[in-house]
Symmetry: C2
Subunit: 153 residues, 2 copies
DNA sequence: TCAAAAATATAGCGCAGGCTATATTCAGGG
DNA sequence: CCCTGAATATAGCCTGCGCTATATTTTTGA
């Protein structure tokens, strides 16, 4: 019952370490950029929706406290994605808008893909929020193709 | 060129904040449990492959330093997933084996799904490492169904 | 057998990203 | 016009998860 071949990986005899490590590295890197993309995408959404992006609204949507948002905005400012004036709303730079557009496009494709696959809209929306950051260009292209072939509204 | 309706979210008028926050919360929670699953799955793989899981091998596969692994193992020990004796290898508890089996199953399905979708095996393996943790039960079921219908070896 | 090499344990540091508490500034209504 | 409430800024703390450096223990081979 506990011989290795049963509890281990029967058919996959463990990929070689170098490739293995590469996968994990990629996942870690994705985790690092996740937040940046989420913020930028959200800011762009808020500006598009109400004309401005306030810290309280960002905080409310992300489910974090306002100082957390403030700290992150400072980082985004340093990274050149947003511009902010003290006690005023936050705006996206050109780079920020590009990143937002790209993130939204990926998000949109992933969400639609899941829907086209038969996943409920609610679940699709929630899963897409996590999945989008781990989808490579190649996989994204496969998603897009699938959506176009099937009923991707 | 910069009127809100163009750079914002044209068709999606922003989902309500409560649902929005729920998606992000789910993504954050997934991030928290990612590492635990990766470790447990890898440990199970190593034990299945070579009969033992040593810190150096875990470190080499994850691409992190050995003390990082040691620290995480301590946490996994406290959480009841692994058992370790000083200066000896690490073993999975019953709970650890269950978690490993579940994680591997998800991983396997996601990877095969991507392959069935036409993604190259190499990319599938790498993307699966990140995606697997963000796939809900419903989406996983959709993946499984798709694999069974199409060429899922 | 025992010294060197390998593996593990431990100490201590840094950064990211959460939080609360509090100060400061802005915007509106008396 | 000023006063109050809302928003933002700032300080300080915690935890998670990386790292290096080093001590300890085990393993190994001459």
């Amino acid at each position: 019952m506990q011989e290795p071949s049963e509890q281990g990986a029967p058919e996959t005899a463990l990929v070689d370490p170098e490739r293995h490590v590469e996968s994990f590295r990629q996942a870690r890197e994705a985790r690092r950029s996740e937040l940046v993309e989420d913020y930028v995408e959200l800011i762009d959404d808020l500006i598009g929706d109400g004309g401005e992006a306030r810290q309280v609204d960002i905080a409310a949507r992300l489910g974090v406290a306002q100082p957390t948002v403030a700290k992150m905005l400072k980082r985004l400012c340093e990274d050149g994605f947003v511009q902010q004036r003290p006690y005023r709303g936050v705006f996206l730079t050109e780079a920020g808008r590009r990143l937002a557009a790209q993130a939204r496009e990926r998000h949109r494709i992933v969400e639609r893909f899941l829907c086209a696959l038969g996943v409920s809209p609610e679940t699709a929306r929630r899963d897409a929020e996590g999945i989008e950051h781990h989808v490579s260009a190649e996989t994204l292209e496969a998603f897009r193709t699938f959506v176009e072939r099937h009923g991707g509204t």
